[in-house]
């Protein structure tokens, strides 16, 4: 299965707004800082890592669960695409 970067971003955004922020209307941008911006806490970040594993089949090792890989939707998308065949690399 191939997935474009924009599809991944959209799925991440929907999940974060719905399941974590519990506000589907939240105007979250792919550049918004999630952890260091105080939007999602460390427990929710783990939930998000579990979602990424289930949805995209990409496991984020413990050591990569940090701001460099996970602080924005863009960073997460890059990280997912590293292991996912895509027609539309970022």
């Amino acid at each position: 299965m191939t997935m474009t970067a924009s599809e991944i971003r959209e799925k991440l955004k929907q999940y974060i707004c719905r399941a974590i922020l519990k506000n589907p209307d939240y105007p979250l941008t792919p550049q918004d800082r999630l952890v260091s911006g105080g939007l999602i806490d460390s427990y929710s970040l783990v939930t998000l890592a579990v979602f990424i594993e289930g949805e995209f089949g990409v496991r984020i090792p413990d050591t990569e669960l940090n701001l460099d890989n996970m602080d924005t939707i863009d960073l997460m998308t890059d990280r997912i695409l590293k292991e996912l065949p895509s027609d539309d690399p970022v």
Partner: protein
């Protein structure tokens, strides 16, 4: 095994030094990190590293009794820094380390503020943070960084800087909070040694006990129960990096299996976290039958959480008798009361109406209308006495709700730099928590203050409001913060409500919300659970015009159609306290 006897020791340094002499090569600590093999430290090895730390501090001029702040990640260096400071006769205070989820420059700023606020003479932190701190701090305090390997240690026969007095401070535990509100609880060598003695009596320690903990050392639970207790009585302790545990919660139970753990530390929200992530794969081959005691503390424990945890892990050998809720605070070093599963029942069902109308915890049957359950926090620890008092300070009978007071041998000496805050001539400490006794058993119903407890960390709503009130667009006079219990997370979540004369446009509200979230995270490393913007008249006030966090919380829950958690019911006296 020789039992630990507090009266044999003068200083907290001595139990480790004795252990290093008597059992030099037995494993004292096992450190578990992500992506690295387990690291085992012997008592002699830890003693040697602690001597090197002490030598470095003493050579640089750190004096007996001076505070040394520690901001290090989980690991050998953190453990050695704590004991090394104690060896030097100085006073350690461990500042929470955020792991990889905070930008380093923000952490450096917070640690620098903490060091200034707490009047620390020196700081021990990671090399990069140390370099940044030296650059901004104009030599007002000493900054050290590991490694300490090259350090020429103190001689092997050196028995530590003489402790001037058993009542001298052994360490200071700081509460969360901004400058001015942060309180440093001073614990003497006597208090900590007596705590170790008391805990040993409760757990009836024997050969073969192994402690397993994921709790950070910045928290009194992690420091005193996870590290100081097992080192002092001579048990091995397996210490999991908090960040590693967060990502892989099952590792706590796997460590019980792998190291034949008998005593384990957890919190209500940690139990929920494990329940959330358990799956068949995780349960396969999991056997935790070696466990004797799982202490659950640091935040309100819910019966529903205990039931969910028991049901999720009974296949692995978990039994109800292993669950041991406890109640405590740094002012008593750690534990005030601990549940005794052999003698007492785990929960008390009471009628919430009698509680709200008359502050009486009248027995009810599960399933009765209005019946709620409080988890039994157990009996006073050895050396501690508990009373429940009304507002006038009179003792209350069984099942009457009032403020919990205690006095004990493990009690604090006062708050740092706050003269007159010692526990008082009579030695009783008013906890600010509300509860009742049934016989010797203590049940916690809530708090007099509006303190919010997020995953075991105490957050003052005043601090949140002060930071939020300074954000552009917010009206500080109409900004209110309170905690609501999130049963799914098993802990409280912070709600911030901003009142406006004229509500900003929706797009502006999102801009304000983003700034609010960011500022609060940077200041306290907590996340706001919900942010609401309301017309000014929505905000509830007391009769004399002050913001009432309790009434705003009730209104917020009412509008969402939710009922308050048992720990957040409104009791009849509350108006007296809050008006």
């Amino acid at each position: 095994m020789t039992l630990f006897d507090a009266s044999h020791y003068h200083s907290l340094a001595e139990p480790l030094q004795r252990r290093a002499q008597e059992q030099p090569d037995t494993p004292a600590l096992v450190l578990l990190h992500s992506g690295r093999p387990a690291q085992t430290l012997t008592a002699a090895g830890l003693d040697m590293t602690a001597r090197r730390v002490a030598a470095r501090l003493l050579r640089a001029g750190v004096q007996v009794g001076e505070l040394v702040a520690v901001g290090l990640p989980h690991g050998e260096e953190l453990v050695a820094a704590f004991w090394g400071i104690v060896y030097a006769g100085a006073v350690p205070s461990i500042f929470a380390y955020p792991g990889p989820l905070m930008h380093r420059e923000i952490y450096t700023r917070r640690l620098t503020e903490f060091a200034a606020d707490s009047h620390a003479r020196a700081v021990i932190t990671a090399p990069e943070t140390a370099a940044e701190m030296r650059a901004v701090d104009s030599g007002t305090r000493l900054v050290f960084a590991p490694p300490f390997e090259g350090e020429k240690g103190l001689p092997a026969d050196w028995s530590g800087t003489p402790c001037p007095d058993r009542e001298a401070p052994a360490c200071i535990q700081f509460t969360s909070g901004t400058t001015g509100r942060r309180k440093g609880v001073i614990l003497s060598h006597r208090a900590v040694l007596e705590f170790v003695d008391a805990l040993q009596q409760v757990v009836r320690a024997g050969n073969g006990d192994v402690m397993i903990s994921w709790m950070p050392f910045s928290h009194d639970f992690g420091l005193f129960a996870g590290l100081v207790y097992p080192i002092s009585v001579g048990h091995p302790t397996v210490l999991i990096s908090p960040h590693h545990w967060l990502r892989r919660p099952m590792i706590l139970l796997e460590a019980i299996r792998d190291y034949a753990g008998t005593i384990c530390l957890s919190t209500n929200s940690a139990l929920q976290h494990m329940v959330r992530y358990v799956n068949e794969e995780g349960l396969a081959g999991l056997d935790i039958r070696s466990l004797r005691i799982m202490f659950i503390g640091a935040e309100p424990t819910l019966l529903s959480t205990l039931e969910a945890f028991l049901s999720a892990f009974q296949a692995a050998g978990l039994k109800q008798r292993m669950l041991v809720p406890a109640y405590g605070m740094a002012e008593n070093t750690l534990a005030v009361s601990i549940f005794n599963p052999e003698q007492d029942v785990l929960a008390d069902w009471v009628d919430s109406r009698a509680l709200c109308d008359r502050a009486q915890a009248m027995p009810a049957q599960p399933g009765d209308p209005g019946a709620i359950a409080y988890v039994n926090c157990g009996r006073a620890t050895p050396g501690t006495r508990i009373t429940i008092r009304d507002d006038a300070g009179n003792g209350l009978p069984d099942r009457s709700v009032g403020e919990i007071f205690f006095t004990s041998t493990a009690m604090y000496s006062g708050y740092q730099n706050r003269p007159g805050t010692n526990p008082g001539a009579a030695g009783w400490h008013g906890t600010g928590d509300l509860g009742y006794l049934v016989g010797e058993n203590l049940f916690i119903c809530g708090r007099k203050s509006d303190l919010i407890i997020v995953g075991g960390r105490n957050i003052h709503p005043e601090d949140i409001e002060a930071v939020a009130g300074r954000v552009d667009g917010m009206d500080p006079a109409n900004t209110v913060a309170f905690g609501v219990m999130d049963e799914q997370l098993g802990t409280e979540s912070i709600v911030l409500v901003g009142g406006f004369k004229r509500l900003p446009a929706k797009s502006d509200r999102f801009v304000i919300e983003k700034t609010l979230r960011q500022r609060i995270y940077e200041a306290f490393e907590v996340t706001l659970g919900d942010v609401r913007f309301v017309p000014r008249q929505w905000i509830e006030r007391t009769t004399n015009g002050k913001l009432s966090r309790r009434r705003n919380r009730e209104k917020y829950l009412r509008e969402l159609g939710r009922s308050p958690a048992p720990s957040q019911l409104s009791l009849p006296q509350e108006d007296n306290w809050q008006s």
